[in-house]
Amino acid sequence: MSWEADLDRLVSERGSALVAYAYLLVGDMASAEDLVQDALVRTYSRRRTEEITWVEAYVRRTILHTYLDGYRARTRFAAVTPLVATPDAVDDDVAAAGDRADVARALTVLSPRERACVVLRFYDDLTLPEIGLRLGVSPGAVKRYLSDARHRLEPLLGPQPGLGTEDVATITRGGAR
């Protein structure tokens, strides 16, 4: 099968899911679609057709890195601006109802890294060390991001015991050498 056919099949079968995944990260539909398209261009410009079996996972990973790269670039050049811009209103087409709408809306209060950690933990089902590896940060940092996310999300969503991070040993900040 040609790469064009692979791409067509991926977009038609999983395109909406990829956009929805990106939407969890960026919080607005236009940016989510741009993010997915950029990730697909990067993926298919280099990939061979026989690797189709893991292409969707690879695209999701590229989406995450492209999103965080943009976050890094913004913070590098605009260090004095607020790190968390309030996204546009949640798109009604995606956040259709109930819990999904509540969660999608609540995620917009998180910082980019907190949001990435929540998505990797609860959608990608990664462990804390795996999230750290994916983001290039320590498991301790992941634990902090998730803990901060819990403090921000619980006032909006109610108790979130799943955001507890007791499975990772705490590193004492400022410990003696």
């Binding site: 790469w3 064009e4 791409l7 977009v11 038609s12 079968e13 909406s16 899911a17 956009v19 929805a20 969890l24 679609e33 997915v36 398209q37 697909l40 261009v41 298919y44 410009s45 280099r46 890195h65 965080l68 790269d69 890094r72 260090a79 004095v80 995606v94 956040a95 109930g98 819990d99 999904r100 509540d102 969660v103 999608a104 998505v119 609860f122 959608y123 089902d125 060390p129 750290g132 590896l133 994916r134 983001l135 290039g136 320590s138 498991p139 301790g140 940092a141 902090r144 969503l157 109610g158 108790p159 979130q160 799943g162 955001l163 590193i171 900040r173 400022g174 410990g175 003696a176 050498r177």
Partner: protein, 414 residues
């Protein structure tokens, strides 16, 4: 009732509409252009190389063609020439990542995920930046505070000062009087910065040093064929916030001194000490070392100097990067005027090779001198002088992947 995050996120992603969210046609066009350019570049290499052999052209800067690979030595010590990658214990999550060492401004600036391409090279050296994620404790110990985070910095420094004072009072000092005085000074500066919410401040203490014993390994199959990045190295890394950074180089020659490695796709690993305190090479024990990666490194066939240059062009004085000649013309009709030469090139290290070939003095070729992005085209340029010529080199890269080097040679007053 509180929503379940796992179910809500899976619902949000996996229960959306079935129709395509956007047209694939435009996307296909973008991808096709990029793929066509890459394929054309690779084809050009082969044609150019064949022509060069017929004309007796020389390989300059790029790797000399070779078919030799260091032999596998299953019993070799971990991380040494010919040893198996499997000599390292399985990694279970690594704090070590690789940042692209490319000059491609369109490339990702974030950490490369394992399996991603780290570089496509025609030259003899890989340059990459290794990043180590630090724990808050390590970050604190390195005494580095990230830009802008003035409130957090102030709290962190105040806590550190209080801790140091308590330890001193308890007869277990970790800082002497001078160290405490320095810390007090940093607390004062952080307090001043925090008073101005818009301040962008970088506070780096005198101990902003973090060491990690890092080593680059290039493997073909499962065998280590090149080793680099650790010789005469004290392991010192630059600390920024919760990340420690270090630029490492790896020579692309076989570690058995068999010559330049042949073209192909290789796996790049970073070997590191799992004991973050570091330690001398002599103290290493295999169980304390682990591997991050792999990332892919494509070694491209070396290209000869471009053919078809005007006969009066001084090729001996002005060696050009290997590639396909696009144009070569005088700056003016005068036979004593300079030259503008455009060469289509391949590989992420074309600019670096151009500078090295001309031996432009005063340029650190691992750094960008000037970079500008205009729409879908980025230009990296630098200037210098060699005997008899003022030289400007501009590497142009389009978003579609076209890459060219434009040389401007202006004769100096003789």
């Amino acid at each position: 009732m509180s929503p379940d995050l796992t179910r809500a996120l899976h619902d949000a992603v996996d229960t959306g509409p079935d129709d395509s969210p956007f047209s694939v046609d435009a996307l296909t066009g973008r991808i096709r252009r990029r793929r066509t350019v890459r394929a054309a570049s690779r084809g050009g290499v082969a044609v150019g190389a064949a022509g060069a052999v017929a004309l007796g052209a020389v390989w300059m800067g790029g790797r000399a063609p070779s078919s030799a690979l260091p032999a596998a030595r299953p019993d070799a010590a971990q991380g040494t020439c010919g040893s198996p990658v499997a000599a390292f214990p399985p990694a279970t999550g690594s704090p070590v990542t690789l940042l692209p060492g490319t000059s491609d401004p369109f490339a990702s600036v974030g950490a490369l995920a394992p399996g991603e391409s780290a570089a496509r090279l025609t030259g003899r050296t890989f340059v990459g930046q290794v990043a180590v994620a630090l724990s808050p404790e390590q970050s604190f110990n390195a005494s580095a505070v990230a830009q802008g985070e003035t409130e957090a910095a102030l709290q962190q420094l105040q806590a550190a000062l209080a801790l140091a004072r308590r330890q001193a009072a308890a007869g277990r000092p970790t800082l002497d009087a001078q160290g405490i005085a320095e810390l007090e000074g940093r607390v004062a500066r952080a307090g001043e910065a925090n008073a101005d919410a818009s301040a962008v401040l970088q506070i780096v203490g005198p101990d902003a040093i973090y060491r990690r014993d890092l080593q680059l390994l290039l493997a073909h199959g499962s065998t280590v064929v090149a080793v680099g990045g650790h010789e005469n190295d004290d392991g010192e890394m630059f600390v920024q916030g919760e990340t420690a950074l270090r630029t490492l180089e790896l020579g692309l020659q076989g570690c058995d001194e068999s010559g330049d490695l042949p073209p192909g796709t290789y796996d790049l690993y970073v070997a590191y000490d799992t004991d973050s305190a570091g330690g001398a090479e002599a103290d290493r024990i295999p169980e304390d070392r682990a591997l991050a990666g792999p990332w892919t490194v494509d070694l491209l066939a070396a290209e000869p100097q471009p053919t078809g240059l005007p006969s009066e062009f001084p090729t001996d004085e002005l060696p050009l990067a290997g590639g396909r000649l696009v144009s070569a013309e005088r700056l003016s009709p005068s036979p004593t005027s300079g030259w503008r030469v455009v060469v289509e090139v391949d590989g992420d290290d074309a600019l670096r090779q151009s500078v090295e070939l001309l031996a432009l003095p005063g340029h650190d070729t691992t750094r960008t001198v000037e970079q500008a992005v205009d729409g879908a085209t980025a230009t990296t340029s630098l200037e210098g002088s060699i005997a008899g010529w003022d030289v400007t080199i501009a590497a142009e890269l389009t978003e579609a992947g076209d890459q060219s080097i434009t040389y401007t040679f202006v004769p100096t007053t003789r």
